[in-house]
Structures are given as C-alpha cells and as structure tokens.
Symmetry: C2
Subunit: 273 residues, 2 copies
C-alpha cells in the first residue's frame, strides 16, 4: 500500500500531533493523545481505541511491520514520515519511529458518575511523577485491581512518560479523575467499600492485619513526597502501613504501591485455589 510521505516538521498534521505529546491541555481539549512505540501503538489498536492517524518511518515499516499491521488496519489516516520528523514527535533519544494519534480511551473518565462493581480499588492522590503513575497502573492491571481513581491534582496518565511506563495498562484499567476527596469517599462508602489511608507511620495498622479477602476495599495512596492530605486521611478513617525493617520512608512510591496492591488481591488469589 502507498502512504503519503511527510518531509517537513512544519507539516500541520505533524505539528498537531507533536502538541498532543507536549501539552496536557491540548490532550484534554481535543480528547486525543499521542502514542509512541511499535508495541504501545499495537496495544492501543488491539485495546479498541479509535486511531485517528498513524505516522511511521521507512525503517520502522521494515522493522516493526508486524506491530504496524493492526494499527494501519484501524487507522483513519496513515503517513510515512522522514527520520527528522520522527525526532520532533518523539520523547526519547532513540525512537522506533512509530506513532499514532488516538481518541481518549473510554476507560478514562473525568469525574465519577457511576461505578461498576469491583472487589477492590486504588485511589492515588496528587501523584506527581508520570513514571510512577504509569508503573503503578501497570502493576494494578497485572494484579487484577482494575479500578483506579486519580484524586486531586495527579499528573496526566496520557503523557508520553506515563504511557511508556504503563505498557498500555492505561488503555485497560478503568481510570477516573475526581477532584473532590469528599465526593469520592462518599461514593465509595455508598458502594460498601472500606477506605484505608496508606501512611508511613509504624503506629498505624499493619497492612497484613487486614483481611482484604472479606468485603470491598479501597486503598488511598498519597503524593510521593508529602503523602496523603490530612483531608483524605480523615475521610478514610482507617490508617494502614507497610511494616519496614529499615528506616522510615525507605520504600519508593511505586514499591509501596506494589505491596499495597499485592495485599489487596492476595486474599483473592488464595481463594481461587
């Protein structure tokens, strides 16, 4: 098949795509985002996302043909681009030269309205690092926690860094932004969830003392440096902690989230046996 070739960085389609990569506002207002990398683009296509446009270099076509095929099959438009154009679109030093513009996933909600049933969910408050956010979403998906709320002022899960770290989990985990801790807590309680605030405080209840296999549970995790806000903590009622041998705060944010997610579903994993 023959695809039009884009040779200039000033091409309006390329400029519009690049803006999706650099600006969260642009992503929000257009309800689109830019996906980079052969595997991630394939993931987006296979996860059923609407692919508005695909861009790829000549060498990518040769190297990543198998990944490109499902993307091209569903893309509304597709273009070959020269290497220097790929350099403009890319957030990495060594780009694979495969990009697509996608509509926001239907799983990414702005504000919480309804709530499909789930045994457990995760709430992230004011998380700032896109790498951490992506990694946590990837771990949540792997461990079967498929409802994640982004409370307050979290970073954008559709930024290039968050997408890369998430390995496509952002397309499959149900994600909802919610500015109000009070509204979220009310809604979760209304659905029968017990709310737990994760805190680095050896005086709090050990996470191993909670039987997550019984009932519905939501764990709240706070900002990397500052932790949860006092408001979120107070709304939870229960405070849980990860018992540590070393010095306090010696787990990084993603590692702490991994352990909490693991404990959330550990009981369920045991039950299936």
């Amino acid at each position: 098949m023959d695809f039009p070739l884009i040779t200039s960085r000033k091409n309006p389609l390329v400029r519009a795509a690049a803006k999706l990569s650099s600006s969260a506002e642009e992503r929000l207002s257009r309800q689109e985002f830019l996906c980079e990398g052969a595997r991630l683009c394939e993931d987006a296509a296979r996860s059923g996302l609407a692919v508005e446009a695909c861009f790829f270099t000549q060498s990518a076509q040769q190297k990543y043909g198998a990944y490109l095929a499902p993307v091209l099959a569903c893309a509304k438009e597709a273009y070959r681009i020269e290497d220097h154009v790929a350099g403009l679109l890319s957030g990495t030093k060594s780009t694979q030269g495969v990009f697509c513009v996608c509509k926001w996933p239907g799983t990414l909600l702005t504000g919480v309205i309804g709530f499909a049933p789930a045994r457990s969910c995760l709430v992230l408050e004011n998380l700032q690092d896109p790498g951490n956010l992506g990694t946590i979403l990837r771990t949540a998906e792997a461990l079967g926690v498929s409802r994640v709320f982004l409370l307050g002022d979290c970073c954008d899960p559709l930024s290039p860094k968050a997408l890369r770290a998430s390995m496509g989990a952002v397309f499959r985990v149900v994600l909802a932004r919610e500015p109000s801790a009070q509204h979220l807590a009310q809604m979760l309680r209304g659905h029968g969830f017990a709310l737990h605030a994760a805190v680095p405080d050896s005086g709090a209840r050990r996470v191993t003392e909670i039987d997550f296999a019984q009932g519905l549970h939501a764990v709240f995790i706070g900002n990397e440096g500052a932790g949860l806000t006092p408001e979120a903590c107070a709304l939870c009622g229960d405070r849980v902690t990860i018992p540590m041998a070393g010095r306090a705060e010696s787990l990084n944010a993603a590692a702490a989230a991994t352990i909490l997610l693991w404990e959330l579903q550990r009981g369920a994993a045991g039950k299936e046996e």
Copy 2:
C-alpha cells in the same frame, strides 16, 4: 574553613573523579567510586565509608551545608569547584554540586567466601538495568532482606544510576558478586537455605503457598528480559511464581522483585506481633 578552589575541568583530581563516574573498570581497579548528591554523600559518610575526597560548588555550600558537614568532617581532602567543573562530574542535568570519592563499602564483596547467618536472601542473576538494581536494593533494605548476591553478569551497583536509585542502600545491604551459580547454590544449601527460582509461569508454585516464616529461604530473580538461566533454575529445584490477573510478564522487574521480597519477610513481620 578555607578549601582550595578548582577552576579547570582538566584538573587531574577532577579528571580522576570523573573517570570513576563513567567507568566500571576504573571503579574496580581503584576500589573507589564517585558519589553524587547532598543526601547520598551524607549517607555514605554516616554509613562509615572512607571518604577520600569531597568536591562541592559554592551554591551547594550555601544550600546543603547541613548535609556537607558530616562529609567534610571525615573527608581526607575537600575542594570547592566551579559550576562548569560540577557539570563534568555530574550524571544529571541539574546537579546539586556535591560529590565525594569513596572507598568501596566493606559490605560489597567480590566472590563469596564466608556467609554470616540471615533468615532470607535475594539472588539477582544477570540484572542489566542499574535503575532496577538500585531500586531493588532499596526495597530489600526497607523490607529487612539484607543479603543480596549478584550472580553472573550483573550491572555495577556503584554506577551513578544504581547509586541514585538505591538511596544509599548499597552502603548498608551486604552485597556479594559471584560468577558461578553452582558455587553459590552449593554454599547456600550448605547453610541450610531452600532455593526458589522466580519464573513467569502460571504452572509453577504460587509464592503465597510457601511458608517463608519457617526455615531459611533464598529467592533467585533473573534478567529483565530473559529471566533466569536454565542452569540457575535447575540448581534451585523449586520454581515459584507471582499469580497474576492480567497478561503474563506484565509486572516490571522491580515490581516483581518487590512482591517476592515482601513475601520473603511477610511471615517474619507477622511473627513479631
């Protein structure tokens, strides 16, 4: 106090320090490494490492005086450096301007000779990413697994990236490099350890089925992409896995290690109650 000022990137002391940052061979042959960052340098000093030399910029002296004090108290030599000299020594874009040359920690062993008793230990085989290695060491320390073996061809735990991710754990966890899986397995068995190979295989034993609180246990974790070598797997005898909800291999290396480390000590944490 007055410290000599270094104004040139060609200063032999600075060049020697920069080489420690860029070359694993240099670190090995001199048995020294370069530490960057106010908090990490302070950590090195407080962990009892021999500080051969300290370098700091004028603005670092003002901003990070409290961190610098314990470093300067034990450094054999100390120098002020101009900002462009700090740029040469730094591995990051925005350096804090604090560096020290340290002797290798006494906790970092080359080859395994003796073995102080421990309830559990971690073996990392052919781990390639320094960020992963540092993060795993940090998590191991936090969770109380203080014996880690670097089997085969692992990356250098004293490289700038590994040091940064470890947050100083590399100074306190007992680390030993060991080229031979057979030798390591023999030694661990001789000390009464049960050996478990971590594999991404849903047919293996679930990690939750093992009572790590009874007896001594060592968990082997393999390379990020390729996993454990067949040799290491065979030497372990037991194969364990992390039950996952999503697709196989959907946890990153650091997240998988976090869960295994957590399970290794989870029983012990429960016992202390």
